[in-house]
Amino acid sequence: MDKVLYGNIKMTSRLLVEGSINTIDLINLSLKKAVENKKYNPFITVTQSEALQHSEDSCKRYISKGAKSELDGIPIAIKDNFCTRNIRTTCASKMLENFIPTYNATVCQRLFDAGAVLIGKTNLDQFAMGSGTVDSIYGPTKNVWIGNLKEGFYISGGSSGGSAVAVATGTCFAAIGSDTGGSTRNPASYCGVVGLKPTYGLVSRLGLIPLVNSMDVPGILTRTVDDCVIVLNTIAGFDPKDSTSVNRPFKKIRLPPANKLSIKNLKIGIPLEYHCDSLSSEVLDTWNDIAQLLEKEGAIVKKVSMPHTQYSIVCYSILNQCEVSSNMARYDGIEFGFRANEESSTEKLYAETRKIGFNEVVRNRIIAGNYFLLSRNYDKYFTKAMKVRRLIANDFDNVWNEVQMLLTPTTLGDAPLYKDFISKNNRDQCALQDYCTQPVNMAGVPAVSIPIKLSQKGLPLSLQLIGRNFSEPMLLALAKYIENIVQFPHFVNKF
């Protein structure tokens, strides 16, 4: 009976319509799985009573043949930096440990309106700052691949590690993450699931607790590309409540079956600069193999150059810290969030509240951001970084004159061991982990990570496809094409 959780959304939806299974049983299975997989620590909050209530509502709808959509009754997970009404939303921090939003983020509302059932809020690096899901007050999230190691566990990647694990284990069919510098694609890569970063402005950010306003987007994690398309079709599109939401009509994506897809004469670029020293030979080989495979199948594969790639991580780092120092200013303990017991003065209250409420990573980014924003430094660092950002965005604009999509690695290797990961500080670690992912956020373009095969150790190896703005249909079509050929051995296939 468990097996139904390991399928895809379309199949499961059909079973629900036919009445072969009912929503209440499905959700109970999912909740049971959530308990079984507690050892990986993917959830901060499991919304048991809400899930059961919604499963009953969904069941009634199916009985009266009034299912809202393919997602009706389907168990999903949402990263704990998206506001969910009456369900605590913590950002894995002491600051918001007891914060209970009074509204749903637009992404959440659209999923609930489609009938999807929330199983829980997933773990993340505090305030989405990190690439390991290790900096959370609720402890790290562990990778599901290769457990019971003497040396400890492999990281799930981050910052949307909890969402990736919820999907990889089969607890949920889909999960929402966020992506500012790779936070959806990185854990997707390490956990062997599909991770989509949509075009900036395509999906509403209303209710997504902001990290970097000019780069944040909601992300989607699923086991298959088709499932990703179903979720994207549900959440994408203009939202008048988000001023950075693009007012253009969104046409739902319909992908043909994989065997009907053709890549003949599709121009695919291989950006040379993404091949850096630290790239593992296994990822390089995988990258090469897929490039050659695509060429064999009729695509035109050529090398392209994106000369400012090497500056991207530094530029991202500066812009990130500057925006963070501004975004985090709202946390003063007065209107919401943790409030320290310090009544001698307002400034002392703020300082004490924020010292306790934020972890070291967050505090250090705020300090760094304020340094770069000092009048004496503003032009030298912040304005300079914004100019370099244009150079990076121009690199992307220029390649679209030559090719339609790019094929690159997602992460530089397979998942590292926790003890090795924490041996570097957060910033150095991000510089390495985010190398191939953050240039995409700088330019705002869409990208998807797809699992290709397992490494020698037995951990997932993934590759990334990048397209021009609003090219999600083509991007996901190519992703589906590759997915069909490589037949990645999903974690749930073991059962």
Binding site: T102, S214, Y274, D277, E295, E347, K355, A368
Partner: protein
């Protein structure tokens, strides 16, 4: 000036593209060093006066030795950008710069209730948000 040119040259020499392998897809690594930039001899670390100012601006409590070291490393890392030529380049503030900002009619769409707005405050004074009575500005020497 000469120093900048040499440094620029060094950076660009650091990676090379093997044109002969254009047909073969197996590439030579673009040998990019993503580690820390070489020590700039003029860099002495950030002055304690600046640290105190940053504490006051950030309001995240006192900075430890470790925090100061982290900040110095961060700045050193950021200095890699200083050599990039941005002549005639405008800052990119938002990737949506070519799309006009959406506006709406100036009508009230009241969805918030007072109760919702006050609901998450740890402390209220007669239905008002409240701060401590005195605003004592932290001076450089005050210790938190």
């Amino acid at each position: 000036m000469a120093m900048n040119l040499i440094q620029s040259f060094r950076i660009y020499r650091q990676y090379y593209i093997n044109i002969r392998t254009i047909k073969r897809l197996a590439m030579q690594p673009a040998s990019i060093n993503i580690g820390l930039r070489e020590e700039d001899p003029q860099q002495n670390g950030i002055e304690s006066k600046t640290i105190a100012l940053l504490e006051k601006l950030s309001l995240v409590g006192t900075t430890s030795e470790k925090d100061i070291q982290t900040l110095n490393d961060t700045v050193q890392f950021a200095n890699k950008l200083l050599d990039v030529d941005v002549t005639n380049i405008e800052p990119l503030i938002t990737v949506l710069e070519n799309i006009p900002l959406n506006t709406r009619e100036d009508v009230i769409t009241l969805e918030n209730s007072k109760e919702d707005i006050l609901k998450n405050a740890a402390h209220l004074d007669d239905g008002y948000f409240a701060t401590p009575p005195s605003i004592l500005i932290l001076d450089e020497k005050s210790d938190m």
